[in-house]
Amino acid sequence: MAELTYRDAVAAGIAQEMERDDSVVCLGEDIAAAGGVFKATVGLLEKFGPLRVRDTPIAEQAILGAAMGAAMTGLRPIAEIMFSDFLAVCWDLVANEIAKTRYMTNGQISLPLVIRTGNGGGSRFGAQHSQSVENWAMAIPGLKVVAPSTPADVKGLLAAAIRDPDPVMFFEHKALYATKGEVPDGEHVDTLGTAAIRRQGSDLTIAALGLMVPRALEAADKLQAEHGISATVIDVRSLVPLDTQTIFAAVSKTGRFYTVEENPRLCGWGAEISSLVAEELFWDLDAPIVRITTPHVPLPAADRLEDLTIPSARRIVETILKTID
């Protein structure tokens, strides 16, 4: 095991796959010579050269179009959309083209590609560089949606996404890039569509994603230490495919279910999981499901306001205490 930062794990995952497969190529704004604005692709240009690691103009439709055209003709491109907010300027490619082409062509066209993007808030960038938009992608049939919370998962899930024959939206959390964690030595490939139980508890289950995972864990520790409440924390990791079995097993055991979501309230990923739990596990529940989300507002920039807007460990603790009687 080696300790890597979340951002170094991105480059490590890409390098691992580029070494074994010549068809893997990368493109995006500032990803090559500059190593990425978040420094997540440092060293790739030096290692694999300018034909495989390409800087593009500021042209998100060109980036995703190029990735799609390359994927349908034999390559496995990894496209970077610098900030996930920018997906909105190339959403046609994501929602209408990449997601639907296999289906519309009756399976004639395969699109083994990965769209990596810096997602989420906490960086005081304001409302257009801070959104959590994984729920946008989740709403579209034909896209796999992954959002890792640890360096090990970054490497393992990214490798799995690159090897996957379908298009994968890979949401990296900007506020996690500097975090560190143990990453298995040697080749590391995880499995898409699997959730991870980060903490076992007996009183309630919290499902979280991305930056909300460490916050849920911090909250769970506080609940245990200060209130004697024992929480299971599930890192959902993959919204599509969704590992309902792991979530259901935990909820059945604890009888109480909370989601912690960074996306604004309406149609957040937790709403879908909550509806599944309500439909299929209703009689196992001891209390109403509670969703803890960013309120339905654009994100403010000032540190004090942003911190109050995105769910914090404190808000998670307070909400749980209020609802657990």
Partner: protein, 362 residues
């Protein structure tokens, strides 16, 4: 290859002088101006492709009236010479990227007429089993890498395929067809720009039929020739051609494809043409001046090219035999498609993912 046109004021919708001249020469029985470089076999192939597209498109129109084709459809009647000129120039392995007005380009690559008509009719025998419909014809075995119905989307995609050819060191070329209206959307600019910077083997073909849907392109475009006049912005040669003359299209296509194959980068070609029908099934095209329609109907690419074949010494019975053979084949394809079953219900859940399924949870 670049044809400079006079920039003197002329009513926008009139065909350029050269094009009128070419027609008049032919009508007068004179030998058309440039005709020594295309062999007879190629010329017959160009006519065959144009005629086949015309008959299939007319058949599609009839099938609409019989309510056997539902939804919408965008016919290329009047624009066949461009699809044919490129189709005959491309090699197996080259890629076509088409628009929602893509029946013509799909047929021009040799896709089955039964497959095309079956897809339009929503039958099991359709190219995509009925899952795509008229606006998304795809036949990858013939190099037809899809028909794209969101204006501009496929320009970056074609550029990406060309990137893949360049990276893998094959000599494949991507050809991307689009209308004049596409030149005003952002994806056009993004694709042209990156293709030129990366010197990719892609040929962008703007079929300027003078109308973006229901509006004259001149009313919404700051330059006279929406693609050609913008080529310089991407460091590309200005190429403006008569899109109703299959020979001219063929020559231009050969040259641009050869340039792409040789690694010299992309081309942007503007081919002037005219659709005989409205934008789509719903459009009777009443917004077009009668004189304009009449002028362009005289320039119908198919009788024009037929006359050229005769002028060049092809016996009329040879042409008639070809026409009859094609019409028979379209009749047969129509009957086969009509007899084909509707798609099975299981198709709804097929091929969302590469494993053939649609599961989003365990």
């Amino acid at each position: 290859m670049s044809i400079e046109r006079s920039t003197t004021t002329r009513k926008r919708s009139e065909p350029p002088e050269d094009m009128v001249l070419a027609t008049e020469q032919t009508a007068a029985g004179l030998r058309p101006r440039i005709n020594d470089d295309i062999d007879a076999t190629t010329r017959l192939a160009l006519y065959r492709s144009q005629f086949e597209i015309r008959v299939v498109e007319k058949r599609a129109y009839d099938l609409f009236l019989q309510n056997l084709i539902k939804g919408t459809s965008h016919l290329a009647i009047g624009q066949e010479a461009i699809a044919a000129g490129f189709g005959v120039s491309m090699k197996p392995g080259d890629w076509s990227f088409c628009t929602y007005r893509g029946h013509a380009h799909t047929l021009a690559r040799g896709a089955s007429m039964t497959g095309v008509l079956g897809e339009l009719m929503g039958r099991e025998c359709g190219l995509m089993g009925g899952k795509g419909g008229s606006m998304h014809l795809t036949d990858i075995d013939k190099g037809v890498m899809g028909s794209y119905a969101i204006i501009g989307a496929h320009l970056p995609i074609a550029m990406g395929a060309a990137w893949s050819a360049q990276y893998r060191g094959t000599d494949q070329v991507a050809v991307c067809f689009f209308g004049d209206g596409t030149t005003n959307i952002g994806a056009f600019h993004e694709a042209l720009s990156m293709a030129s910077v990366w010197k990719l083997p892609v040929v962008f073909v703007c079929e300027n039929n003078l109308y973006m849907e229901y509006t004259p392109i001149s009313a919404v475009t700051p330059v006279k020739y929406p693609a050609a006049d913008r080529a310089a912005a991407y460091g590309l040669e200005r190429i403006l051609i008569d899109g109703n003359d299959a020979d001219e299209v063929y020559r231009t296509a050969k040259s641009a494809i050869a340039r792409a194959r040789a690694g010299a980068g992309p081309s942007l070609i503007e081919a002037l043409t005219y659709r005989h029908h409205g934008h789509s099934r719903a459009d009777p095209a009443k917004y077009r001046p009668t004189e304009e329609v009449e002028a362009w109907m005289k320039r119908d690419p198919i009788p024009f090219y037929r006359q050229r074949l005769i002028d060049l010494g092809v016996a009329e019975p040879t042409i008639l035999a070809m026409e009859e053979e094609i019409t028979r084949a379209v009749d047969e394809a129509t009957e086969t498609a009509k007899a084909s079953k509707p798609p099975g219900d299981e198709l709804i859940y097929k091929d969302v993912w590469a494993n053939g399924g649609w599961a989003w949870r365990n």
